[in-house]
Symmetry: C2
Subunit: 182 residues, 2 copies
């Protein structure tokens, strides 16, 4: 445990391996399909971009997009402030697309439901699959990932933090127990 009370759950090499495995599983599942990879802001988009680069390196014809679900959250009324809006960027036709949605952590499933709602507002995809780096449990909706880096049991009140080089200067997954918080 570090001085900040954080436990390291996944180090950089493990994260790299898990992302490579997700990319390999996607290629195996979709030998022919033209795919559209869509990442949820902020770290879902980073994960998505890394898988996108791996698929492109394997010669796969793939589109890339990002989704900002801030305005689709079902707890907007309970938030003190309006979350910052970064905007979505889907530069491919959603209608009829084979989409894989990316997020860093799967928890209650409410973020994913909001993302499905927003995607469907753009058109009717042929299929939407879900890829996440960490499934920390405590689902509140019947949502399940198709591609999963690692399932990590947590307490409801734990805080799970994913760090990526692109956004945080380093790769890592960390857990904080509330009792250990400063």
């Amino acid at each position: 445990m570090s001085e900040t009370g954080e436990i390291s759950l996944l180090a950089a090499p493990a994260i790299r391996d898990k992302i490579e495995r997700i990319a390999a599983q996607i290629i195996e599942t979709h030998p022919d399909h033209s795919l559209a990879l869509v990442g949820i802001h902020t770290r879902g988009a980073v994960l998505c971009r890394r898988v996108f680069d791996l698929l492109r390196a394997r010669g796969r014809n793939t589109s890339f997009g990002t989704l900002d679900i801030a305005l689709y959250r079902d707890d907007l009324d309970n938030l003190g402030t309006i979350p910052s809006i970064r905007g979505s960027d889907l530069s491919f036709p959603v209608q009829g697309a084979q989409i894989i949605l990316f997020d860093d952590v799967l928890f209650t499933g409410r973020t994913i439901r909001a993302a499905l709602d927003e995607l469907v507002d753009y058109g009717r995809p042929a299929r939407i699959e879900l890829a996440v780096l960490v499934d920390r449990g405590h689902r509140e909706l019947p949502i399940a990932p198709d591609y999963l880096g690692q399932s990590i049991p947590t307490l409801r009140q734990d805080h799970v933090r994913v760090c990526f080089r692109e956004t945080d200067g380093r790769d890592g997954v960390f857990l904080t127990h509330p009792a250990a918080q400063p």
Copy 2:
């Protein structure tokens, strides 16, 4: 195979056993919670009612409701006619409720997504789980059941038909291959 080209997948005794197992799993998962069971029209509501009766016989405090997702379908534009509206009946407060949603067959997942949307329009449930009698595969959304009678592999173009005494005069699950259809 019957004269109509239908293959029987589940007979009445197997259906009874599977519904009893779903009820037992729900009781085991929720020893304390006050539950609200919600069935999707038409045969999801019948399945829901049977589990509701089993839970009530075990002394469980449970609410019952039905959901008509006709107006929430994402393919309304493609339908030649407006589907018949039977209306939803949720006589309990959805806000904060522990809900179990029932449908007879899980297929693409689009019906379930529509049902989640409609439920959330009534309030913000604490949790929504999903119970289905048959999972026939071919998911087009990252939806997964929490309680499942039986997983039955099918071809995309197969037709799976669930019959219940209450709606069809007898219990049974049948499959028709398109080539065998009259």
